[in-house]
């Protein structure tokens, strides 16, 4: 349904997207994970048609996404900004934004009422949106993107800064959209969100996809190893040097920063060796945790940094 090939975009000297390629099928929900500056919003903006001056091709339903204006009717966007009119009611906002697409008025009204039910705003449909809480506004923002039954839904961090109830509601909407055949790309910082919502996960950094697949496929990248998370009073440099001669011997340093490091070990028996090296270098360890591999460790392995960095 969607084929992205070699999409490249620069802001001056900064390469935001570097020959980015991706395929997405009907009903697939792709979670796009990446640290700040990875290129997620740039990708969404290009697909939404609000960013120009890039190279590469995007084919949607067999047609050039940017050459065929009619395809805009098949695209649903949920931007990071709360892009609607505060002075209008939720219903008025839905009717206006939905009206910009080629949806018959009666169908639009029916669809708006149905969506308000789904995002649990039906009881406050006539109230000005400025009276809504942040979570309610996020739900409305998401509903606007779904009004015209898009074939491709793009959501740019739709759960930023909202309460748990609103987050659950939005993730439900995303799952339902996928189940009804809409292809979805949504960007987030929240690993748990993609773990529970997406059929496929792509990890990107520096404008490229580093790895993609289902959760299980990604976890296998780390392998059948345990993850050791060490906290202490140490700098990144001396920590790496301390483990230099045992690295590769069933021990892999996934990430290290001042006072925190993650390692993958083939067996927990390796841990005394690690501690011995650290004590020899007089690096103080205050805490040590052993975890099973998860998306976070995959992310750490692939990007070398935490998702919040």
């Amino acid at each position: 349904m969607l084929e992205i090939r070699n999409l490249t975009k620069s802001y001056g000297d900064i390469l935001a997207l570097d020959r980015f390629s991706l395929d997405l099928g009907k009903g697939e929900v792709l979670g796009l994970l990446g640290p700040n500056g990875a290129g997620k919003t740039t990708l969404i903006s290009i697909l939404a048609g609000t960013l120009a001056d890039f190279s590469g091709t995007v084919t949607f339903q067999g047609r050039n996404l940017f050459a065929d204006r009619a395809l805009k009717n098949r695209l649903g966007i949920v931007p990071q900004d709360m892009a609607f009119y505060d002075e209008l009611s939720a219903m008025d906002n839905l009717l206006f934004w939905g009206g910009l697409y080629d949806v018959p008025r009666a169908e639009l009204k029916r669809r708006a009422a149905e969506l308000l039910e789904r995002v649990e705003l039906a009881g406050r449909a006539k109230e000005p949106v400025k009276k809504f809480s942040g979570g309610m506004k996020r739900r409305l923002n998401t509903a606007i993107g779904l009004l015209h039954h898009p074939d491709l839904l793009l959501l740019d961090e739709p759960t930023v800064g909202i309460d748990v109830q609103a987050k659950v509601s939005i993730l439900d909407i995303i799952r339902n959209a996928g189940a009804s055949g809409t292809a979805v790309i949504f960007t987030t910082h929240q690993l748990a969100e993609v773990e529970t919502t997406c059929s496929r996960i792509a990890i990107m950094d520096h404008g490229r996809i580093l790895a993609q697949g289902t959760l299980d496929e990604l976890v296998r990248i780390v392998g059948e190893r345990d993850i050791v998370e060490i906290t202490g009073e140490f700098a990144a440099g001396p920590f790496s040097e301390a483990l230099q001669d045992i690295a590769g011997d069933g021990i892999e340093l996934l990430s290290v920063a001042d006072n925190l490091a993650s390692l993958a070990v083939a067996a927990t028996e390796q841990i005394p060796r690690i501690m011995d090296r650290l004590f020899r270098r007089k690096l103080a360890v205050t805490d040590l945790k052993i975890k099973s591999p998860n998306l976070e460790t995959v992310f750490l392995k692939l990007t070398g940094r935490s998702l919040r960095d």
């Binding site: 048609g49 960013l51 931007p79 900004d81 709360m82 009119y85 209008l88 008025d92 206006f96 934004w97």
Partner: protein, 414 residues
């Protein structure tokens, strides 16, 4: 076109849902007009000017000076002037305290010098704190001076005869010769009558008695003159407020969201400009209705005024579309818009009467929409069609639009 109308309707609905800004900009001009009316207009309808207080110093006390003093005592003059005869020292003291509009000093020997056809000077001391009442006194004295000079020259021979008699002591005054001298003068007047009677030119004062018409300048007239200036100034403020959406929607992400829909940038631009235009006309209509109901202001033919308002509103929409295509953010919009509107209003005559402004200001004023709107409104009140103001506003509006649309396209396109 459907989407353009949808955006336009949505803009109107939004502003009607949150009308405070527009209401404020409608109430302020009406309030200011009311205030100006209360301060500057006559308190009772049809009232005349108050009597002009004149101090008269007669240092001559002769025949001619009496004639001059007497002129103030004629019926109509009595209503216009309140004359106090005094001496020069007291007169100057009173003038120093601002107790009179002007002081007229008739010099000693005025009558004899006049009869001898020597140049004489009447002194008019004007009160500088009053605007035009002293000028009325000066003009009146000018007229009297011209009349007296004319009489002395026309009756030079008779004046010489009478003048010779005046040199004699009272007890030997030749009363018997006075009659013939006046007789000669009368003959001259009678002879002149053959040429002057019937008078070719007659002056006839007539008061218009058309229904509802008032002959004097009333409070309603003042409102009618002031309100268009106020209305156009706040029309600019209102349209500027509406057109600021161009900037604010760019900043808060609504523009980006709109561009992800099938809405074309040109449709969005068209909707924004049309929205400013339509709302401007609507606001003017409300102000016309309020001005008529509250102040009994007159506007001339409503159709003509609506056309004038429509082109003024179009001009404002095009101008602020261009401005908002050039500024970068809301702060810049606010920083530029308010001074520009105030400058337009100052030079264009919304804040003060154009006639009272220096010539340079009036020249700058022709570059403002306020000037042409005010001129147009005045023409309409006079019963004339404001062809030139409408043409200038429409023409310059089209020019502004031609500059605004490509600039906005650059700003709204990806």
């Amino acid at each position: 076109m459907r989407r353009l109308l949808l955006v336009l309707a949505n803009d109107v609905r939004r502003h009607l849902k949150a009308p405070m800004a527009i209401l404020i900009f409608m109430v302020i001009p009406l309030g200011m007009t009311g205030l100006i009316g209360v301060i500057f207009a006559p308190q009772t309808e049809g009232s005349e000017l108050p009597p002009i207080s004149v101090l008269l110093v007669d240092n001559d006390k002769g025949l001619a000076s009496k004639l001059l003093v007497g002129a103030f005592d004629v019926d109509q003059m009595k209503e216009m002037f309140q004359v106090t005869v005094t001496d020069e020292a007291d007169g100057r003291k009173r003038m120093g305290r601002g107790k009179a509009s002007a002081m007229v000093v008739i010099p000693e020997g005025f009558t004899l010098d006049l009869l001898d056809a020597k140049p004489v000077t009447l002194l008019v001391v004007k009160n500088p704190s009053e605007q035009f009442l002293p000028d009325v006194v000066e003009e009146f004295m000018n007229t009297m001076a011209v009349m007296l000079s004319g009489v002395v020259q026309a009756f030079a021979e008779e004046v010489r005869g009478i003048r010779a008699m005046l040199d004699r002591p009272v007890e030997s005054f030749p009363w018997d010769k006075l009659g013939p001298e006046f007789g000669k003068a009368q003959k001259k007047v009678v002879a002149a009558r053959t040429y002057l009677d019937p008078l070719i030119l007659r002056l006839k004062a007539e008061e218009t008695k058309a229904a509802g018409a008032r002959t004097s300048f009333t409070q309603a007239d003042l409102f009618s003159a002031v309100l268009p200036g106020m209305a156009v100034m706040f029309l600019l403020f209102i349209v500027q407020t509406l057109m600021r959406d161009i900037i604010s929607e760019r900043e808060d992400g609504k523009l980006r969201r709109m561009l992800t829909t099938p809405l074309r940038p040109i449709e969005l631009i068209g909707a924004r400009i049309a929205g400013g235009w339509v709302m401007g006309i609507a606001v003017l209509l409300v102000m016309v209705a309020a001005g008529t109901l509250i102040f009994r202001a007159t506007w001339g033919p409503l159709g003509g005024f609506l056309l004038l308002g429509a082109v003024a509103s179009f001009w404002a929409a095009a101008f602020f579309a261009l401005l908002h295509a050039l500024v970068r953010n809301r702060n810049q919009s606010g920083a530029f818009s308010a001074p520009i509107i105030l400058a337009f209003s100052l030079f264009g005559g919304s804040m003060m009467n154009l006639e009272a402004m220096p010539k340079a200001f009036r020249t700058v004023g022709i570059l403002t929409p306020n000037r042409w709107f005010i001129d147009g409104a005045a023409l309409l009140r006079d019963g004339r069609f404001p062809f030139v103001p409408i043409l200038i506003l429409a023409g310059s509006g089209i020019l502004l639009l031609a500059l605004a649309v490509p600039a906005l396209r650059r700003r709204t396109s990806v």
